[in-house]
């Protein structure tokens, strides 16, 4: 544990945004609608920006300071309580602390989170403030935005599972608020509720898992204690596996994996910056972070004792990868394609983590660290790429809105900017209305081009370095443990499918001729938006630098010093991937590359390719691709109508019926039970009380009838009573 000044101030990283939350909210309420607030502070955006910038700077300082080893510090005690041992009567104090813990995983995710929070803040200023539908309520957006960022940063820096959970829930709250930002729309309110409840179901299992873990580790949930191999060895591996399994279910909910994935597509109801930040770059990574944190447990427990959990993790990953990719095939909404893509890529990371855990638990530590490193590197690449993709999608949608406004409200006498007026049932998010935008939106198109390539895993760009690692390692495990074959196969196929749907998305949006008049009027003109797109494109293209820095090994095992120098690092990676000595892995790599780089995009080009129209030119790095797609499309007569009309496709359109089943279960079973219970409570439990009431009243009425009001009767009763008393007295005595 090293102590340095930054550790004392590390708490500011999540705390600054948290304090900005009430400030922005309060100022926004007070100054809502005034020109100064709208222009000078961008309705709170320019208050949030320096705060996020400060968090970013502090984070980078912390990262640089922590590169030499795991560190952390306990800041203060949150509360204490006691435990009583009935057998001995001893009372021990259990302490709950607040502190910071920094290791490789923290550093990576801290960088991702703070960097993306900052960039998406920049993006929001351009996106949210220029859309009239958001007038006078952006302060709410920025306030909730900074609160969310504080939640993410806090979770990453936390030093115990309890504080991970606390910030996890805080993020869930902000996700709810932000998805339901346009609360007046029933679909948005419904989507927010669905997100919260689905993740809540996962959270229930998470907290039960935490409770089990606390009890296993003698009242400790802080990383410093629970990651200690001696403490882990002292714990029963079976119970530990159960506890971790419970926690994994929570991760499934948060990262939208099968079967708790249903909330993510609906979450696209929120504004696009929300989708970029929460549902691509940060919150959904929380589940991955949690599972990655479980790695030390797998490493320190007896051989093979937790393999089942590793297999389950990989299976869930594999199933989700294929399922999400399939559903993405039929999506028309730009954001929904990206949502399913997120689901699928996260599943890749889960599979990689599952493979890493299995390897760790079965004694192959060297391979395990590489696998873990690959999975985490893919998290990094995916976050960067997907954040960029969502922002680019937002840019497209934004400009489509503007173009629609121009085309359909060309006479400026109609200045009414209400949302309903704007839409006229025109869906600015549907790819069916786009096309040919590559020439009209060069920066966005470039961003999306390279982002898609990163996701697909095109060699040398972004996600390639990590995706190949995951596929390779999973297959390596498959040869050792047969049940891994299925996830391995799934993610291999998934590579090709990713190629297909991402290319489809890009081609439908940017290639070919504009499908509507609106699309032909699109112009890229909003300020602020291009900045993050350019930055992230650069990050995607320079991912080879990280690969060269052996970041895969570094991420997997923090203290390993594999660094051979930059150039030799690149050569090493090159050799390792393209010229691997193991023939099966070599074959595998090329098959994967072939599927994802050639086969997938080829079919996409056949169906959706097309040259730009006359007079339009795209930037050269995209132009060749568009022209190629045009040529392929013209020369192929691939008819996919059989596929399009199949029952599988119909089922995919309904998202494989998961939503229907869950909704039915909720409505019919849960709500049905509830109504029955409410009735039972009123009629039967309360009925007993009312029964007592009526019985008492009836008895009272009967007894009352003795009072006839007639004096004669009273005299009779008095006489009888006296006789009775005499009889009792003399009869007894």
């Amino acid at each position: 544990m090293s102590g340095s000044i930054i550790l004392e101030y590390a708490l500011l990283i999540p705390l600054l945004p948290m304090m900005a939350f009430p400030v922005i909210l309060f100022l926004g309420k007070m100054f809502n609608g005034t020109p100064g607030w709208i222009n000078k502070t961008k309705e709170g955006g320019l208050i949030a920006l320096p705060v996020m910038g400060a968090s970013l700077i502090l984070s980078i300082w912390l990262i640089i300071d922590s590169l030499h080893g795991t560190s952390g510090t306990t800041l203060f005690t949150w509360f204490e309580s006691s435990w009583w041992d009935p057998a001995t009567g001893a009372i021990t104090t259990k302490v709950f602390n607040v502190g910071i813990y920094i290791d490789h995983l923290t550093i990576m995710l801290l960088f991702v989170a703070s960097f993306l929070c900052f960039l998406i803040n920049v993006f929001s200023i351009g996106y949210m403030n220029t859309d009239p539908i958001n007038d006078n309520r952006n302060h709410r957006f920025y306030a909730e935005f900074v609160l969310f960022c504080s939640g993410m940063l806090g979770m990453v820096l936390a030093d115990s599972f309890i504080w991970l959970f606390i910030f996890w829930e805080l993020m869930g709250l902000c996700s709810y608020l932000l998805i339901g930002f346009y609360y007046e729309r029933p679909s948005a309110a419904y989507a927010a509720k669905k997100a919260f409840l689905t993740t809540r179901v996962g959270d229930v299992f998470l907290i039960i898992g935490l409770v089990m873990l606390w009890n296993l580790f003698d009242g400790h949930l802080d990383y410093a204690y629970v990651f200690n191999p001696q403490n882990i060895a002292a714990v029963d591996a079976g119970s530990l596996q159960l506890a971790l399994g419970m926690m994994f279910i929570g991760a499934i909910g948060k990262s939208a994996q099968f079967p708790l994935h249903v909330w993510l597509p609906d979450a696209m109801e929120g504004p696009t910056p929300v989708s970029a930040l929460i549902h691509a770059a940060t919150m959904v990574n929380a589940g991955l972070y949690l599972v990655a944190r479980m790695f030390p447990f797998f490493a320190a427990t007896p051989i093979g004792s937790m393999s089942t959990l590793a297999i389950i993790i990989a299976f869930i990953g594999g199933i989700t990868a294929i399922m999400a990719a399939l559903i993405a095939f039929v999506q028309m909404d730009l954001k929904k394609v990206l949502a399913y893509s997120t689901m699928s890529q996260l599943a890749y990371i889960f599979t990689g983590l599952g493979a890493a855990m299995w390897l760790a638990n079965n004694g192959h530590m060297e391979a395990a660290t590489i696998a873990l490193g690959a999975a985490l590197f893919h998290l990094f690449n995916h976050a960067m790429a997907k954040g960029m993709l969502f922002m680019a999608a937002g840019s497209v949608i934004h400009e489509m809105h503007h173009a629609h406004h121009e085309v359909h409200h060309h006479d400026h006498s109609d200045d009414d900017h209400s949302a309903n007026d704007e839409d006229d049932d025109f869906d600015a998010q549907s790819m069916e209305n786009m096309g040919g935008l590559a020439s009209r939106m060069p920066i966005t198109a470039t961003a999306m081009f390279f982002g898609s390539m990163s996701i697909i895993g095109i060699p040398f760009i972004g996600g390639f370095w990590s995706k190949e690692g995951i596929i390779a390692k999973t297959w390596e495990v498959a040869f050792l443990e047969p049940s891994f074959f299925i996830p391995a196969l799934f993610i291999l196929c998934g590579a090709g499918m990713t190629g297909f749907y991402m290319s489809r998305m890009w081609l439908m949006t940017f290639a070919g001729k504009p499908k509507t008049e609106v699309a032909s009027h699109v112009v890229e003109k909003t300020a602020w938006i291009p900045i993050p797109l350019v930055v992230l494109t650069f990050m995607t293209l320079t991912a080879f630098i990280w690969a060269g820095l052996e970041v895969t090994g570094w991420l997997g095992d923090y203290d390993s010093g594999h660094f051979h120098g930059f150039l030799s690092g690149i050569l090493y990676e090159f050799k390792h991937i393209f010229l691997n000595h193991d023939i099966t892995l070599l074959l595998l790599t090329y098959v994967a590359i072939g599927l994802s780089m050639i086969l997938g995009p080829l079919y996409a080009m056949k169906l959706y390719g097309g040259r730009l129209e006359e007079g339009q030119k795209a930037l050269p790095w995209m132009g060749w691709f568009i022209n190629l797609s045009g040529r392929v499309n013209e020369n192929s007569d691939f008819d996919n109508s059989a596929w399009a009309n199949s029952s599988l496709t119909k089922s995919l359109h309904k998202r494989l019926h998961f939503d229907d089943v869950y909704d039915a279960a909720m409505l019919k079973i849960v709500v049905g039970c509830a109504n029955l219970a409410a009735l039972f409570d009123t009629k039967i439990i309360d009925g007993v009380i009312r029964g007592i009431e009526t019985t008492a009243q009836d008895a009272s009425t009967k007894v009352r009838s003795l009072t006839t009001g007639s004096a004669r009767d009273y005299i009779m009763m008095a006489a009888l009573g006296t006789l009775l008393i005499f009889g009792l007295l003399w009869g007894v005595a």
Binding site: S81, S82, E184, I208, N215, S418, V671, A674, L679
Partner: protein, 573 residues
């Protein structure tokens, strides 16, 4: 009071203000003595703490009830103000006690059966009743909570009709509640216990909803019947004591009602070895006492008075009822049966757990099927009180501290919940969940508070309720294992009904929202300044106790450790 009826109104107002000034002057005259007297005897401070609200409440009520209708309207403003000032004085006292401004108070030094500000005055010599009051880690948070809630309730319902009699009733209620928590004599405890019923009865009867007569009657008779059963237990306990024990034993009966003597007698026996009064007697007395407390809690199946009482009660009544009165049941449980009948507790541990679990689950499932907002919150109170029973059944200091903290946290959160319902009633004249949509547009402040209170109640971390739920779960697993899935499921169900109710009232609705029919086309308005102030104070404290739970949890933890060391630890099981 014939003479005052003849005084004209102006002079009555002057009399009132003069009375107020006199009281403040008297207190000011006393306080300098206290500051200088750090070691000195401030034990008498509990008398004004309890007696002050009650006496001033009664006097003001008497004042106000003599007036004619128009007179009442005119006198409402000064009486309201007077009540608020009088309610702030106990708050000042209890806060000063907390921050050690009056005397140095160190809760961690108290052992079992030791109390701060312990003062005892003989009252009824013949049967051994004394005015014995004192506070420890169990009762002080409750006392502070009560003194805190009464002024907030008054502020929140400032504009209630007939304020001249309403606010003194609240004051009276507060005083009686404080009395329950500080009393250390069984007789006095019972007196204050029953005394709390009276103002609440009148509050429901006079300011309640359409079916108020039935609800008030049901509330009174149901809880009163249960208290009578408890009285039976208490009197039996009284007579089973050995003769001549304790300093203030009665001259005729030879026994005393004093709790400290009782606890000391019980502590002479060992858990599991010699059993105080024998196991059979303990079981009987335990059941008798618990019935009284369980009905008050309320625990399923004795809970049906609560929804009716809440739906019909006015906002202020609901706030105090849910905020403090329900905690009386839990407090009583922890104070008497748990401490003196540990063997019976061990015997009935699983039964208590079952009742708690049933309350928890049943309360939340029934919530999901409600359409009336206030009834839904009432059932959620039932559900949260079930958690307290789970904490008690765990027989761990962790669980007990969790139960105590849940009492405290729920005491801050549920008044806010009911305040929101009250605001709906006041401004929208409807509490039906399906009646309106999109009200966030018209009442942004109300919507924010609603969201905040709803999130606090479902256990969002960094708000007061989370720590309690976490601790209960932590204590629950090692003892009851996989039953933990039920409380876990309740977490999800709670989220479901809260979110569903929010979606139906403040969200959706399109651009213009759909106001309820009961408004008859009026434009919906947002909450008034008073409601705003009240709710923001409650919100701030919810956050404070969520982020810094140790403020209250520290003394609660000390008390539970003392309890376990003093009661459960002798002789071992």
């Amino acid at each position: 009071m014939g003479s005052t009826a003849n005084m004209d109104l102006k002079s009555k107002e002057f009399a009132l203000i003069g009375f107020l000034a006199l009281i403040i002057a008297a207190l000011a005259a006393f306080f300098p003595n206290l500051g200088a007297n750090a070691e000195g005897n401030v034990d008498w401070i509990s008398i004004p703490l309890v007696g002050f609200p009650i006496i001033t409440g009664v006097i003001l009520l008497a004042f106000a009830s003599q007036e004619s209708r128009t007179g009442k309207k005119k006198i409402a403003a000064p009486i309201r103000l007077a009540c608020l000032c009088f309610s702030l004085i106990p708050l000042g006292i209890s806060t000063a006690l907390f921050f050690d401004w009056l005397i140095a108070v160190d809760w961690s030094t108290l052992g079992y059966n030791e109390y701060m500000l312990d003062s005892q005055y003989l009252w009824m010599e013949s049967i051994g009743v004394s005015w014995h009051v004192g506070m420890d880690g169990l009762s002080f948070p409750m006392v502070w909570l009560t003194t805190f809630l009464v002024p907030i309730t008054m502020i929140m319902t400032w504009d209630e009709k007939d304020g001249a009699t309403y606010h003194p009733l609240l004051l009276l209620m507060g005083g009686a509640l404080i009395g329950v928590f500080v009393s250390l004599d069984l007789f006095m405890f019972y007196i204050f216990w029953e005394l709390t019923l009276i103002p609440m009865f009148f509050l429901i009867l006079k300011w309640g909803g359409s079916d108020r007569r039935y609800a008030a009657q049901k509330f009174f008779i149901y809880t009163f019947a249960a208290s009578v059963i408890m009285l039976l237990g208490l009197v039996t306990l009284y007579f089973l004591q050995p003769e001549g024990s304790g300093p203030f034993h009665g001259t005729i009966t030879g026994r005393t009602f004093d709790m400290t003597t009782l606890f000391a007698n019980a502590a002479a026996y060992n858990l599991g070895e010699n059993v105080f009064l024998g196991l059979e007697m303990q079981k009987i007395l335990f059941v008798l006492l618990m019935i009284g407390f369980l009905v008050k809690l309320p625990a399923v199946p004795f809970h049906t008075w609560l929804p009716d009482a809440h739906v019909q009660a006015p906002t202020g009544g609901s706030m105090l009822l849910a905020g403090v009165m329900l905690k009386m049941g839990a407090y009583g449980m922890m104070r008497i049966p748990i401490a003196i009948f540990p063997d019976a507790l061990v015997y009935y541990q699983d039964v208590i757990m079952a009742i708690g679990l049933i309350s928890l689950v049943w309360g939340s499932i029934v919530c999901l099927g409600q359409t009336n907002l206030k009834k839904m919150i009432a059932y959620s109170s039932v559900s949260h009180m079930g958690i307290i029973l789970l904490g008690i059944a765990s027989m761990q200091p962790l669980g007990y501290a969790a139960a105590l903290f849940m009492m405290f946290a729920h005491g801050i959160i549920s008044p806010m919940l009911f305040a929101v319902c009250g605001a709906f009633k006041h401004h929208y004249r409807s509490m039906e969940i399906g009646d309106m949509r999109g009200m966030a547009k018209w009442s942004p402040f109300l919507s924010v508070y609603m969201m905040f209170a709803w999130m606090a109640s479902l256990g969002l971390p960094l708000l007061a309720g989370f720590v309690a739920e976490l601790m209960i779960l932590l204590a629950y697993w090692p003892i009851y294992g996989w039953w933990i899935l039920l409380p876990g499921a309740v977490l999800a169900i709670t989220a479901a009904y809260y979110l569903w109710s929010m979606q139906r009232t403040i969200f959706e609705g399109g651009d213009e929202g759909q106001p309820p029919e009961s408004l008859n086309g009026e434009t919906p308005v947002d909450i008034s300044v008073h409601e705003n102030i009240g709710m923001i104070i409650l919100a701030v404290f919810t956050v404070i106790f969520g982020i810094f739970p140790f403020i209250a949890l520290g003394m609660m933890d000390d008390w539970t450790v003392a309890l376990f060391e003093g009661v459960f630890n002798r002789g071992g099981i």
